[in-house]
């Protein structure tokens, strides 16, 4: 256990710590309480990342239950009730428990280091934000053993299936989502306060690394939409327990209202899961191409445009719900528009590579795979935007393929790229390169075997969220299931690489990667517990 703790402050920083006004008061508590009470951004970042990794494996096991059942037609392993609980819990755990906390963990570790701040602006709030999560997800997982089972209405929990027809555990699900939502809002406030107030002297907004920029914009999205989620689940709570009829047509309510509210939250939410990924990739590609990011300013503007557009595209998730023609057209056009700033980003990444000096260390491999595979997810997204065609695509495996391409080789690969990139800074050791390469290639093969055939299954007519299917979909599902198990198993390799890297390995210098330029590479590797107690001397790059 002891080897998992962050390293002790190095000699040169001990003096700096003693010089600080409250150095004595900041000495870490001992034993397990240290982790419960810590207000240090690096320790909290580690907590977030470890939590996220646990959730990634739990959500992954749920996905493998789903894939095992779908391995061949017929019901073999689980009954439809439990199958629906698995698809629902897989989605909820991965979105709210794995991907979002992973990005918050990376932000905790890296935002202060990248802007030259000593810590997050609100350290105690930071602690509280994290510790809400284990509580929230313990409650959510506990619904699996409650009478009537866990939530079984999909991660989008459409009313009235999630209200009038829901299992009794739904109230606990609502409570856990409230807690996770509060955690996200507090985390977002903290990140905004940190970025706006604690930048090193001389660092203007347009000097910030793109990871910081994308997180700043993401944090504003979180603050804007998490309250909408809180509102809609509170309305569900009232419908279920207090006899209101927000979403119950028999009482004068409107089931479609639920979808409008949910997707007003839900669409910005999917960008919350991808914008920080853009940021990570935008710092990794220049490092390993040894060339400045092409079009820094347009990257910032593109990110902001995507964020703003995300508020006016929500009903493209509802093209077949019975919208009026004008609404269909409006949401089709706005959705297609998103392709423009997204395209700008991809072009910028590729132009950064052009005439660079490129090497292929593990973080770069994942970042490059991100660019290719995320773009494939972007293509299917463009197809889905065409509203008439969406009447065929909607609610099929084509959609499942689309959002898994942007979330798994998209968000998850970017997180892994970030982990491989910053592991030397966190642990002082390089990750084992051979193992990391094995992890990369097995993941790339696994992810494509899993999700590419889903395009065909969906186009051929297979609806999503079904535990059993017609015989013409059998071959696609067989390949998908095999790919899923390969991908799942290769993630154990990721665990091995991370644990080995924490324990030892080739020593990394302060500037662990030759082409890395941002401020985090000016502090020692591993980064001592306290950094930048006196602001660094920041020199903006010459334009």
């Amino acid at each position: 256990m002891a080897s998992h703790l962050p390293p002790k402050p190095s000699v040169q920083y001990e003096h700096a710590a003693e010089g600080g006004a409250a150095a004595g008061a900041h000495a870490p508590a001992r034993g397990p309480l240290r982790w419960l009470l810590t207000t240090n951004h690096k320790e909290i970042g580690t907590l977030y990342l470890v939590f996220s990794l646990c959730m990634f494996f739990i959500g992954g096991i749920f996905a493998l239950v789903v894939r095992a059942e779908l391995f061949q037609p017929g019901l073999q392993l689980v009954q439809p009730e439990f199958f629906n609980q698995m698809t629902t819990m897989h989605g909820l755990i991965m979105v709210f428990g794995a991907v979002m906390p992973a990005f918050v963990g990376l932000a905790n570790w890296m935002v202060p280091l990248q802007i030259g701040a000593p810590d997050m602006a609100l350290p105690r709030l930071n602690n509280f934000s994290f510790w809400l999560l284990p509580v929230a997800f313990t409650i959510l997982l506990a619904t699996l053993v409650m009478p009537g089972g866990a939530p079984n209405f999909g991660w989008t929990f459409y009313a009235p299936l999630s209200t009038t027809y829901a299992p009794p555990s739904t109230t606990f699900f609502i409570f856990s989502l409230h807690l996770a939502g509060i955690s996200s809002i507090l985390g977002a406030i903290n990140i905004i306060a940190t970025i706006l107030n604690l930048r090193a002297p001389g660092m203007r907004m347009m000097d910030m690394p793109l990871f910081v920029w994308t997180w700043l914009i993401t944090a504003f999205l979180l603050i804007a939409v998490m309250p909408v989620l809180a509102g809609v689940i509170t309305m569900m709570l009232l419908d279920i327990n207090f006899g209101t009829s927000f979403f119950n047509a028999a009482g004068g309510g409107d089931p479609v209202l639920f979808q409008h509210l949910f997707w007003f939250f839900g669409h910005p939410e999917v960008y919350i899961m991808i914008l920080p990924a853009f940021g990570i990739v935008s710092v990794i590609i220049p490092t390993f191409a040894r060339k400045r990011l092409f079009g820094y300013a347009s990257m910032v503007y593109a990110t902001a445009s995507i964020a703003i557009l995300s508020f006016v595209v929500w009903a493209h998730h509802m093209f077949v719900v019975g919208l009026p023609l004008v609404a269909e057209l409006f949401f089709m056009y706005t959705t297609m528009l998103i392709a423009v700033p997204t395209g700008v980003k991809v072009f910028n990444w590729i132009t950064t590579l052009f005439r660079g000096s490129i090497s292929f260390e593990p973080p770069m491999l994942f970042a490059l795979a991100f660019v290719v595979l995320f773009t494939i997810g972007g293509f299917s997204g463009l197809m889905l935007a065409i509203s008439p065609a969406d009447f065929q695509y909607h609610d099929t495996y084509f959609v499942v393929a689309h959002f898994h391409y942007v979330l798994v080789p998209g968000a998850v690969f970017a997180i892994m790229a970030g982990v491989y990139y910053w592991l030397p800074k966190w642990t002082g050791h390089y990750p084992h390169e051979r193992l990391a390469q094995w992890h990369f290639w097995l993941s790339v093969i696994g992810v494509n075997l899993t999700f590419f055939p889903m395009h065909f299954a969906g186009l051929a007519g297979m609806p999503r969220r079904i535990p059993d299917y017609a015989l013409q979909f059998a071959d696609f599902n067989l390949v998908t299931s095999l790919g899923g198990f390969l991908f799942g198993a290769s993630q154990l390799l990721f665990l091995v690489v991370v644990v080995r890297c924490v324990r030892g390995g080739e020593k990394a210098p302060a500037r662990a990667w030759e082409g890395a330029e941002d401020l985090e590479w000016s502090v020692p590797s591993p980064a001592p517990l306290h950094t930048f107690e006196t602001p660094p001397d920041f020199q903006p790059q010459q334009h």
């Binding site: 019901l75 459409y158 299992p167 719900v321 019975g322 009447f391 065929q392 186009l459 079904i466």
Partner: protein, 373 residues
């Protein structure tokens, strides 16, 4: 040499993609309506646009990765901005999108034109079956999954149309414009037949419209597309399109049968006749929740076998079936079942599985005391 290799590879890739695009069961079906053809062509246009963009973008990317490898001694240059280029690659995608939006808008407009229909069919989603009502024709029936539970459980060989077969398909006239009015009795369902390119949510409390004009007679299969609870995978849609003359004959025959059934309301039914009819109704309507042996799946779906509270109060039993129980999954059957079916199924529930009350609930009782208003 290298150029020829590239062309050959490109040729193979194109042939492969085209093959996939036209292969049966790998791509969106062209379908049998004008709308489905238009949608298919939109799908193929946007697909090829993506392929072309993909070839250019990934081509440039892999060229750069290959050409500027550090291991081959590449030196990085330091350009990092170029306004003209950035404007060009913002404007060109915009133009492509406008070009795409024009035909999509036209197709969407025709999909939304539900006027001048020759026939109106009400489609009602219920957990977990579809009910079809030919409006103004007094013909209505429910359409249930016909695949046996043994096939699903792997105890019998799976048939060719496994999970895509029903006891009674929706019969429609080919060549005529049919307006579909969709709603639901419980949760949201979605009525989808890929060959007709119709997918429309059935939302409780609301009526959605769509339409279809089927060009070729045939049998077209689809499924519920919106997660609607436990048996979401087991409520297929089957449409049988027939020549208009055959359709008229079929409709006349169904109307006659419905009229016959209405006559049955006034006569006295024996317990055996009610039980026999009730068992069929129970099997198609009730068994999916309350189980074929009446054991239910508590807490959501109470057991009927040995349910003393129910057996003691006949009127409450009838009220539950006729009016449903608000706030639960139990729907009202007053408008979806006829008096004979309601009386028969209640009689069956009160006498099957050892319930043995001996009650024979007469259709006339239901019609006069419960449905008269």
């Amino acid at each position: 040499m290298r150029k020829r290799l590239l062309w050959t590879a490109g040729g193979f890739a194109f042939a492969g993609l085209s093959g996939l695009a036209s292969a049966d069961g790998w791509n969106m079906p062209v379908g049998v309506t004008d709308v489905s053809r238009e949608i298919h062509s939109l799908h193929m246009i946007i697909f090829w646009i993506c392929v072309v963009i993909g070839v250019v973008v990934f081509g440039a990317m892999f060229y750069s990765l290959f050409r500027y490898r550090r291991s081959q001694g590449a030196e990085a240059s330091n350009f990092h901005e170029h306004t003209t280029v950035e404007v060009i690659w913002t404007v060109i995608p915009l133009l492509i999108l406008v070009g795409m939006a024009v035909p999509a808008t036209a197709t969407l407009k025709s999909m939304y034109d539900t006027t001048e229909a020759d026939l109106d069919v009400m489609v009602t989603g219920q957990q977990w079956r579809w009910r079809y009502e030919y409006l103004g024709e007094d013909v209505a029936f429910t359409s249930n999954l016909a695949t046996s539970r043994e096939q699903i459980a792997g105890e019998a060989a799976k048939g060719e149309d496994y999970l895509l077969e029903v006891d009674e398909p929706l019969v429609l006239p080919a060549g005529r414009k049919v307006r579909l009015l969709l709603t639901s009795d419980d949760v949201i369902h979605s009525w989808w037949v890929p060959d007709l390119a119709v997918k429309q949510d059935a939302v409780p409390g609301f009526v959605n419209e769509n339409w279809v004009r089927i060009n070729e007679p045939g049998i077209y299969r689809g499924q519920c597309a919106e997660l609607c609870g436990r048996d979401h995978a087991f409520m297929p849609v089957v449409v049988q399109a027939v020549e208009p003359e055959r359709f008229d004959a079929w409709l006349a025959q169904r109307k006659e049968a419905a009229a016959q059934e209405a006559l049955g309301v006034d006569r006295d039914w024996s317990l055996e006749a009610l039980m026999e009819r009730g068992e069929r109704v129970y099997g198609t309507i009730c068994a999916s929740c309350h189980q074929p042996d009446g054991s239910g799946s508590p807490p959501a779906f109470p057991a009927l076998a040995g349910n003393q509270a129910l057996l003691d109060e006949r009127d409450r039993h009838i009220d539950t079936v006729v009016n449903g129980v608000s706030g639960t999954a139990m729907p009202a059957f007053r408008s979806t079942l006829n008096p004979v079916e309601i009386a028969a199924v209640i009689t069956y529930e009160r006498n099957a599985w050892g319930n043995d009350t001996g009650d024979a609930v007469q259709p006339s009782t239901i019609a006069d005391e419960w449905l008269a208003d």
